[in-house]
């Protein structure tokens, strides 16, 4: 099997996973809903029925692109670091602190906030990465635990240092007007953050395809021992990749904050990091496919919300899609028989051709 038919096979697998997930959703809706056809219409056609709704897709796609890129970066080196969830959150706290506490001139204040967001996100992912490299501690375990540390640290900082005393909730003081990202399409909340996200896609794509660092990251993910034997400093490449991966989630957290909100309002982990795992998995960890997969996910989520507003089907149905897609794509054994049949066919063909 050459690389072409391999790609064909991978795409088939992704499509099949999404197809099966949608089929399960369809059956569920038919079973539980008293108005199944309206529900399906609301879910699948609903997102395209008005500009505002289409705008919703683009808005929710933006943070998903960042966390999808973040997961791609963290994962390509061969680590299962899940700190992008906490990183996204703590970055928005850091960006809030920068916006509220530092009195910087316009333009510079936004840059500073994005920088501190990226830094906070980067450090969040760096910690499990460091522990892995230096102490061989499982990054999966440390990053999951770290997410709670980051959540409560962030809430503590907001409540004690950033809270707006006049509000009846744990919201921060309002950001300066001039820091909010400009809206691009009137009647929607589509903002400049989407452009920053697409820029990030381009940067990560270039990193993987045209830099020595990107090559090393991918090689370590494929065989770290070969990389070491070839003279690559495996530990430092892993650490840099985790730093960049976390920083991407951090920029995502800050961009989401200034694109969609006027003040910090989270009371728990927003979940964009977890969604990033799904986005990156569907995109097969290829940066160039991340926008497409983020769009698909955002579309389904907006559709599920519309459905829950207009019909009797709750939006949690979306979680089913998420779970089924992840399970099916990560299941190695699926389509194995089919793949082997293809392999046998090609091999026989080749023997015939070569005599």
């Amino acid at each position: 099997m050459d690389s072409k038919s391999r790609i064909k096979f991978e795409i088939l697998k992704s499509a099949l996973a999404i197809g099966i997930a949608l089929l399960i959703v369809l059956i569920t809706i038919l079973l539980i809903s008293e108005e199944p056809w309206q529900a399906l219409y609301a879910m699948f056609i609903g997102p395209f029925t008005s500009l505002r709704r289409f705008g919703n897709i683009i808005e929710s796609m933006t943070p998903l692109i960042f966390t999808g890129l973040s997961v791609t970066m963290l994962y390509r080196v061969g680590l299962f670091n899940l700190s992008m969830e906490g990183g996204f959150f703590i970055a928005s706290v850091a960006a809030t602190a920068s916006a509220v506490l530092l009195d910087l001139p316009p333009g510079l204040n936004l840059l500073a906030a994005l920088f501190f967001g990226a830094l906070a996100g980067g450090i969040s992912s760096l910690i499990p990465g460091m522990l892995k490299v230096k102490c061989n501690a499982s990054e999966l375990v440390t990053s999951l635990m770290l997410n709670y540390v980051l959540l409560y640290l962030g809430l503590y900082l907001v409540v004690n240092y950033l809270r707006d005393a006049s509000m009846n909730a744990n919201y921060s003081n309002a950001f300066p007007e001039n820091m909010l990202l400009p809206r691009l399409v009137s009647g929607t909340r589509i903002n400049a953050g989407t452009l920053i996200a697409l820029l990030a896609v381009a940067v990560v794509y270039i990193l993987f395809h045209y830099t020595a660092l990107g090559y090393k990251i991918t090689l370590i993910g494929k065989n770290a021992r070969l990389a070491r034997m070839a003279g690559i400093n495996v530990g430092s490449v892993i650490i840099i990749s985790q730093l960049i991966g976390g920083a991407l989630a951090g920029i995502g957290g800050s961009v989401e904050l200034f694109g969609m909100y006027k003040r910090f309002q989270y009371t728990g982990l927003p979940g964009f990091g977890w969604d990033g795992v799904l986005v990156a998995t569907v995109a097969q960890f290829k940066p160039e496919l991340i926008p497409l997969s983020a769009f698909l996910l955002a579309y389904l989520r907006v559709g599920a919300n519309i459905m829950s507003m207009e019909t009797d089907v709750p939006s949690e149905i979306f979680s089913i899609i998420q779970a089924v897609v992840i399970i099916l794509i990560s299941a190695q054994a699926i389509l194995k028989k089919y793949q082997h049949r293809q392999v046998v066919k090609t091999a026989r063909q080749e023997v015939l051709n070569n005599g």
Binding site: S3, Y215, L226, M229, G231, V351
Partner: protein, 512 residues
């Protein structure tokens, strides 16, 4: 004439990576004979036997045993039927005793516990019967390779096997141990056991086998009576052409010392000393062969010199600078390059494309870049050049490495390490598990390196390879250098065998 005990017809096997390992193979064995299965590495011998033993599924053909057709079954059923297999790599638990290994899975019990006394006496009895003398109470980890192989044979015989499959049983044995094994096999033949003997060493096959089936490129070529055949005939059928087993080797010209190892000591992660006070020198223009029974420190020596181990003491002087404990990058920058023992773990990334596997050591070099960014044009040019020069058979540089044959994968490793233009090449088992064509090619490349005035340290478990290629030979036993021969042509395989086994040892002065 004896009956066919086993018949395999039209066996076809395709691995998930698309390699067709067996193509319509016919193979039959008569009761009570020693039947050799020969072929180059990668000819499909091991695959065919794994299919017979139920370890691999097959995609076509049928198997008859004692006249009955076998359905696709696992190895448990095969053992039940009286088929036993001794694998090339021993399947033993090092931390258990001999008798515990032998009875594993069929333990005699007394109530709830294993009846050790009965087990020990069972094992000794079988050992006496077949003249396989091993102490049942010894820890397997402490046994020599030859004894471990006896344990494997015991394992098979105690389960009542009538048909024994031996997968390259002599690959890890010294000449003396091989002789002993052959006596035992002839004894087994007398007691009406049937033996399938997999090998690519023609001389051994001529010595003890009755018939030989030759595989080439996954197909069965022919089955012939050994007594009617000559060595040349068999080797021609194996390779499909006349092979020149002798290399055209120019006399060596030793120049200045480039690598000098002094008092090197190293213990592995379990605290077992693997290198004891190793001293030697390597000069440019010299191929220094390191011989020894596997596991006697040769691999650790190569890895320690290349910076792959930690905690070694002593000195590794490269052109006078001590490189012990330095990072691999700086060792490579000193002009060393390395062909690792196991290409799958250390040598290649099998999910990567060929080009990805050709550049890892030089990805930071400006030769592959254009204004700081990787230039795919330059990478393509380099890859195409190496694929051409090293005769890597593939569709193109983008093909995934896992799709290549073992020989071509090894050529990728060789292409990378040779094109790094090393002054000192450390080749650790450079031709293990590859076909004769690739083997010959790699030998020639190593000789070329030497003739260009570079130094080569060749570690190999294949005594023939050491004898043919090396200018000088160093023998290791239990982590020590036990012998050094400045001129390899002045020593015989048998003599090397004595040193490898630790039966002979040179004095300090001779070892130098």
């Amino acid at each position: 004439m004896a009956q066919d005990i086993l018949k395999m017809e039209g066996i076809t096997k395709i691995y998930p990576n698309g390699v067709m390992a067996n193509k319509d193979v016919d193979f039959s064995v008569r009761e009570g004979e020693i039947h050799a299965l020969m072929g180059e590495n990668g000819a499909g011998k091991s695959t065919l036997m794994k299919i017979l033993f139920g370890l691999e599924e097959y995609d076509g053909g049928s198997i008859f045993y004692q006249g009955k057709k076998l359905d696709k079954a696992g190895s448990a059923e095969m053992i039940e039927l009286g088929i036993g297999m001794v694998h090339q790599h021993f399947m033993l638990v090092d931390s258990l005793r001999v008798y515990e290994n032998v009875i594993l899975g069929m333990e005699p019990v007394k109530g709830m516990v294993i009846d050790s006394a009965a087990a020990v006496s069972q094992v000794s009895e079988i050992g006496r019967k077949y003249n396989l003398q091993v102490d049942p109470m010894a820890k397997v980890g402490n046994l020599s390779v030859g004894l471990k192989q006896k344990v494997e044979l015991l394992k098979v015989l105690i389960r009542g096997a009538k048909l024994l499959i031996l997968d390259e049983p002599t690959a890890v044995l010294t000449p003396q141990e091989t002789d002993e094994l052959f006596e035992q096999l002839l004894l087994l033949k007398k007691s009406n056991h049937t033996i399938i003997f997999i090998s690519h060493k023609i001389r051994e096959v001529m010595r003890i086998c009755d018939r030989v089936t030759i595989l080439r490129g996954g197909r069965s070529v022919e089955t012939i009576e050994v007594k009617d055949a000559t060595e040349e005939e068999i080797s021609r059928r194996m390779v499909g052409r006349d092979v020149v087993l002798q290399l055209d080797k120019k006399p060596a010209e030793f120049k200045q010392t480039v690598l000098s190892v002094k008092n090197l000591n190293y213990s592995n992660q379990f605290g077992k000393p693997m290198l004891r006070n190793v001293n030697f020198e390597l000069r440019s223009g010299q191929i220094l062969g390191v011989a020894g029974v596997e596991g006697n420190g040769q691999n650790e020596l190569a890895e320690t010199i290349f910076g792959l181990t930690q905690g070694a003491t002593g000195e590794v002087l490269v052109n006078g600078t001590n490189m012990l404990g330095k990072c691999i990058r700086s060792i490579r920058d000193q002009g060393l390059s390395y062909i690792p023992e196991d290409r799958m773990t250390l040598g290649v990334a099998k999910d990567g494309a060929i080009w990805e596997n050709l550049i890892p050591d030089r990805v930071d070099s400006p030769n592959l870049k254009n204004r700081g960014f990787l230039s795919h044009k330059k990478i393509t040019a380099l890859s195409d050049e190496l694929i051409e020069e090293f005769n890597i058979r593939c569709r193109n540089k983008n093909q995934t490495l896992a799709m290549l044959s073992g020989g071509n994968m090894q050529k990728v490793v060789v292409a990378r390490e040779f094109s790094a233009a090393p002054d000192i090449l450390i080749a650790n088992q450079p031709t293990r598990g590859i076909d004769v064509g690739a083997n010959e090619f790699i030998w020639k490349k190593i000789l070329e390196k030497r003739d260009e005035g570079n130094a080569v340290m060749l570690v190999s478990a294949d005594l023939n390879e050491v004898m043919v290629l090396s200018d000088s030979i160093l023998v290791m036993c239990e982590g020590e250098v036990v012998a050094y021969f400045e001129d390899s042509s002045k020593v015989t395989e048998e003599e090397l065998g004595l040193y490898m086994l630790g039966l002979k040892k040179q004095g300090v002065r001779e070892v130098g």
